[in-house]
């Protein structure tokens, strides 16, 4: 395993066009000049069971021979193989860039920008209405305050009026009552005086009578 990994990692390092010096040709029949790139690679790792026996021989020779020859075995595997693929990929990339720009970046980007602008506009307009709403609210509060003041003023006025009325009536009633009282008192006094007067005369008569009865000198 270690050998295999070493070998495959060896391919990473080998530069492709090293000349081949191959004294003993192992099982692969298509071992030919390295300059022809279309030839099958020397070492194909997909080995069918038929070739297992030969693979064993290869493995034996691999294990026996030092590493540099291993590198030669894998030489055809080219990691750094630059060819027309490079410009084709570049062209494909440019094509993809322009097409994606037409299909994706520009339309969706514009759409998103427009939406952003719309949302911002809506937001700012909403902010404007909020000031409007505030003004309206203030107005409403002012109206309410005025109405309340009016109502309380009216209430106060009414209270005052009724209080004055009540006071006036009360004063009148009191005056009437006083007058009646005065009258009653006056009549009482008069009656008292009369009775006292009458009593006085009666007292005089009685005392005369008593005197007459006590002193029957005559």
């Amino acid at each position: 395993m270690a050998n295999m990994i070493m070998a495959s990692s060896k391919t990473l390092i080998t530069s492709p066009p090293t000349p081949k010096s191959n004294p003993q040709p192992p099982p692969q029949p298509s071992l030919s000049l390295p300059a022809i790139p279309t030839t099958k690679p020397l070492f194909s790792l997909s080995i069918t069971p038929k070739t297992l026996a030969t693979a064993a021989a290869v493995a034996a020779s691999i294990a026996a021979t030092p590493l540099p020859s291993l590198a030669e075995e894998f030489e055809k595997a080219q990691l750094f193989d630059f060819d027309l693929t490079l410009p084709i990929i570049a062209a494909e990339f440019l094509f993809l860039m322009f097409t994606l720009d037409k299909l994706y970046y520009s339309p969706l980007g514009n759409f998103m920008d427009k939406r952003d602008a719309e949302i911002k506009e809506k937001l700012s307009s909403v902010k404007d209405t909020s000031t409007e709403v505030k003004a309206l609210e203030e107005q409403a509060a002012a109206i309410m305050r005025a109405a309340r003041a009016e109502i309380s003023a009216a209430l106060n006025k009414m209270k005052k009026e009724t209080a004055a009325e009540v006071d006036a009536k009360l004063a009148e009633g009191r005056k009437k009552v006083e007058a009646e009282l005065q009258e009653a008192l006056a009549s009482l006094e008069k009656q008292k005086e009369e009775t006292i007067k009458s009593l006085d005369s009666q007292i005089a008569a009685l005392s005369q009578e008593i005197v007459n009865k006590v002193l029957p000198v005559k």
Binding site: A59, I89, E92, L103, Y104
Partner: protein
């Protein structure tokens, strides 16, 4: 010796099963030139996936996005964010480049990890992620180089070359060297990561065919995404760097 050959036999059988074929290509000939057929086939599939899904999702955009449109809006926001962070306020014209860079590499990498390419047998070589091939990564890296040169020249005219003697003319060789190391590092980073990831998975599968490779596969998905992001971010950073003013 005998034991060794036997073990190698069984290992060969396992390799047959998992089919490691490193650096094997399915060659086509186009006008006397060779191309790697397997790379082109998979890249077409990737392009088809991208174009198809984008067309389906963005065909009729709704004010309140749902499902696919939502996802693609998120992706576009992400790309714009990356471009804006790296390039600055003038990122607008570069969104398609950065975005396509990211999406192409990302879908390529994930297709190598998720799509069962190995089911389709090629006469030679095997289907894998397009980014598994050095041609693809070098093509993308060279396009990035062209892009940042274009960006700089477009923005500052010939004054762009003044950056080579900034901050002091002594750094001229290093500044020139940078133009070579940038695409080199970009392409080899991507290529090496993707190839190594696939190799690790294949070797692990050949050793322990079940359960054990699964975490490594997930790790592979993670690194694939990260690599796509790194490539796109670096490309954007290079473009931004060549556009920013040295006063």
């Amino acid at each position: 010796m005998n034991v060794l050959s036997c073990s190698i036999n069984t290992l060969n059988g396992l390799y047959d099963l998992s089919g490691v074929e490193v650096g094997q290509h399915f060659y086509w000939k186009i006008g006397g030139f060779q191309v790697h057929g397997q790379v082109l086939i998979t890249s077409w599939v990737v392009i088809a996936i991208l174009l198809g899904s984008a067309t389906l999702a963005v065909r009729n955009p709704q004010t309140i996005p749902t499902g696919g449109q939502n996802f693609f809006e998120y992706v576009l926001e992400f790309i714009r964010d990356v471009s804006k962070t790296q390039i600055g306020e003038e990122y607008g014209p570069w969104v398609p480049f950065i975005g396509t860079m990211f999406l192409f590499i990302f879908v390529s990498n994930w297709s190598g990890a998720l799509l069962p390419w190995k089911i389709i047998q090629l006469p030679h070589g095997e289907l894998a992620a397009p980014t598994n091939d050095i041609n693809t990564t070098v093509a993308l890296a060279l396009l990035t180089s062209v892009a940042y040169f274009y960006a700089g020249l477009n923005k500052k005219g010939l004054g762009y070359f003044g950056k080579y003697i900034q901050p002091t003319p002594i750094l001229l060789p290093i500044n020139i060297l940078e133009d070579f190391t940038k695409p080199l590092s970009l392409s080899f980073r991507l290529f090496g990561n993707i190839l190594a990831d696939e190799l690790v998975v294949v070797v692990l599968v050949s050793l322990v065919p079940s359960v054990v490779p699964i975490p490594v596969m997930f790790l592979g998905l993670f690194t694939s995404g990260i690599q796509a992001l790194i490539f796109a971010t670096l490309a954007a950073a290079y473009i931004g760097e060549s556009m920013e003013g040295h006063h």
